[in-house]
Amino acid sequence: MKRIHINEQYCIGCRLCEIYCQVKHSKSKKIIKAFKEEASDMMSRVLVEEIGSNSFAIQCRHCIDAPCADACISGAMTRNDNTGVVNCDEEKCVGCWSCIMVCPYGVIKRDVKARRAASKCDLCIDEEVPVCVANCPNEALKFCEDKNE
């Protein structure tokens, strides 16, 4: 499957990935409107980690053997065998945060703003390229087939 590959050498810490991720998952999908009117409900699903001049953007790795799906008590977190995408059904999620406890990458966040549900990358499945990748100004994120699979 196509995955998001991180090229941390060229991450410039601008956080445009986070901004476009929030817009993509907003109601209006319009950047100015989303930030002006929905800011209190928005959360980025990609996270930029930064220490000094080192930074990288990380989002759900969509593990084949996804521990979050195993840990989920309500069946909300599942891995789609066709697409390989690990997704959280926010209707089913009860907010027990078991997934957060087991995620080895720390890329699932508690969304208690708009709804009580686990918030994570959905790989922008309806887009050709995830918005964080498409809007990275320095190609620090790449969307390509995983050679190891």
């Binding site: 060229y10 991450c11 410039i12 956080r15 476009y20 950047i31 100015i32 930030f35 190609e139």
Partner: protein, 506 residues
């Protein structure tokens, strides 16, 4: 002191309707022009810190920022321009030489813009480069006095031994920029692009980083007055060696890379202790005459087994023609002439804006003199110093150049916005800086795409113009000044350029 007479040059306008306070501008500015106020949860700007590099404007996701020129409201005075006043304020404050970066921005005559290229009509056919072959391959190096052939086993073979040549797929090379003055990522972008396009880049005087050894076949290494990083391996990992005497932006002036930029990597590349100032003396202390230059040229040829061209780079100065003649007679395989509009990472403003002569006039003076002396073929001429477009390239070739060096154009292609603050080491585009937070902004993979895009575009345009003039090889244009006409030039200028005025025919 609190009294600040020097005013800021730019005004940052933030459109509050568009600003989403995402802080991208705050993170991108190395000059602290934008701040995030946590109490207000809002971003604000400090125009006085802005250098006009347009990084924030380029990355702002909503187009909320506009950087505009701030015109100080000095009383209008033709003689005492705002630039003069500002310089005096600055110097009274600092008591020092005013430093600047990039080429001169003063309104000196740009002769390229007074030259017009010819096209074929009726009496000779124009050529469509998309349908017919068009040759822009160029060779840099000494050409033989004559060609002798001999018959061997029924075939004619070349008897004359040809001096080493550089083969260029297009008559454009990347000019000298050292690792130190620019970042390693910028050097890598230039090296990879030169190697993928079939041309050359130049290390400048900063030594050759080990990561760039793999591009040896497309590397011109410089031997300058500081001799930084010059050793046997340096000469071995190059396709040609260039002795740097002068630079167009600062003729007669040496170089100074401050100690704080001499990081671990730069110190090992330049072969000097970490943290020490890298000082290139103004002269080569072993070159005080053409004979001394000949000694160095032949020492380098000896060290490279006479297998690599050895060139000499000089700035365009008043007596450039006899100087060039001496350089050719000293044995240089090519001569690079850098005009006074040429760029730099740091130069005293007074030198940059007032010393040297325009490259167009220097080029024609040199080409003419070498032809008159019958030694033009003994060295190729590469010109530098503000070649801004494919039309500048083609005009330079028609005036007599073999190829051109581009540096500012290459940096612009990598994102440079000519803010002229290279010497501060805070380049927001990751080019003229060694700060790891800033250098990673230049991804060499993107650099490669952009630089090869530029070379490709210019090469296509050169072919179009050649075809339009009914010429199918760049060799047929070289020094063919009949293809140029001047506009708005005096008789004396036309005479030096060796061209007719527009409207004059055979």
């Amino acid at each position: 002191m609190a009294l600040k007479l020097d005013q800021s040059e730019f005004e940052i306008t933030r459109n509050d309707e568009k600003c989403i306070h995402c802080e991208v501008c705050v993170r991108q500015c190395s000059n602290d022009s934008h701040q995030f106020d946590a109490d207000e949860s809002a971003v604000s700007s400090k125009s006085e810190n802005c250098v006009g590099c347009h990084r924030c404007e380029s990355l702002c996701p909503t187009g909320a920022l506009k950087i505009s020129k701030k015109e100080p409201e000095f009383k209008e005075n033709y003689n005492w321009s705002a630039a003069h006043l500002k310089n005096i304020y600055k110097q009274s404050d600092s008591g020092g030489v005013i430093l600047t970066g990039m080429g001169s921005d003063k309104p000196h005559t740009v002769y390229w813009d007074h030259l017009l290229f010819n096209a074929a009509q009726v009496t000779n056919p124009s050529i469509d480069p998309l349908r017919e072959p068009m040759e822009i391959k160029t060779f840099i190096g000494r050409k033989p006095d004559k060609i002798e052939m001999e018959k061997k086993n029924g075939d004619f073979v070349l008897k004359t031994k040809i001096a080493p040549q550089l083969e260029l797929s297009t008559p454009i090379l990347f000019s000298a920029m050292s690792y130190g003055s620019i970042s390693l990522n910028a050097c890598k972008s230039l090296a990879v692009a030169a190697s993928s396009f079939g041309t050359f880049y130049n290390t400048g005087e900063g030594g050759l980083h080990r990561d760039l050894y793999q591009y040896a076949g497309n590397t011109i290494v410089q031997v300058a007055s500081g001799r930084f990083g010059v050793d046997r391996e340096y000469l071995a990992k190059a396709a040609a060696v260039e002795i740097k005497i002068g630079q167009g932006a600062k003729p007669g002036i040496g170089g100074h890379l401050p100690g704080e930029k001499v990081t671990d990597d730069i110190s090992s590349t330049r072969m000097i202790p970490e943290g020490t100032d890298a000082i290139s003396p103004a002269p080569h202390h072993d070159i005080y005459s053409i004979e001394d230059l000949a000694q160095l040229i032949f020492a380098l040829k000896e060290a490279t087994d006479y297998a690599k061209p050895v060139g000499v780079k000089v700035s365009a100065v008043h007596n450039i023609a006899p100087i060039a003649s001496g350089i050719v007679r000293a044995g240089a395989d090519y001569i690079a002439i850098d005009g006074f509009r040429g760029g730099t990472g740091a130069a005293p403003q007074v030198i940059r804006d007032n010393v040297g002569i325009p490259i167009e006039l220097a080029l024609t003076a040199v080409d003419q003199r070498l032809r008159e002396e019958g030694i033009r073929h003994r060295a190729s001429i590469i010109v530098a110093g503000s070649v801004r477009s494919s039309s500048d390239v083609i005009k330079a070739i028609a005036l007599g150049a073999d190829a051109v060096y581009i540096a500012t154009a290459a940096l612009v292609s990598l994102g440079c916005h000519l803010c002229q603050k290279c010497y501060t080491g805070r380049c927001n585009w990751g080019i003229a800086t060694q700060d790891p937070y800033l250098t990673k902004r230049l991804n060499p993979e993107i650099g490669l795409k952009r630089l090869t895009g530029l070379l490709r575009a210019w090469s296509l345009e050169i072919k179009e113009m050649l075809g339009g003039a009914g010429i199918n090889a760049i060799e047929s244009l070289r020094g063919n000044r009949e293809h140029l006409r001047g506009v708005n030039l005096s008789d004396r200028e036309l005479k030096i350029l060796g061209i007719k005025h527009a409207g004059e025919s055979w």
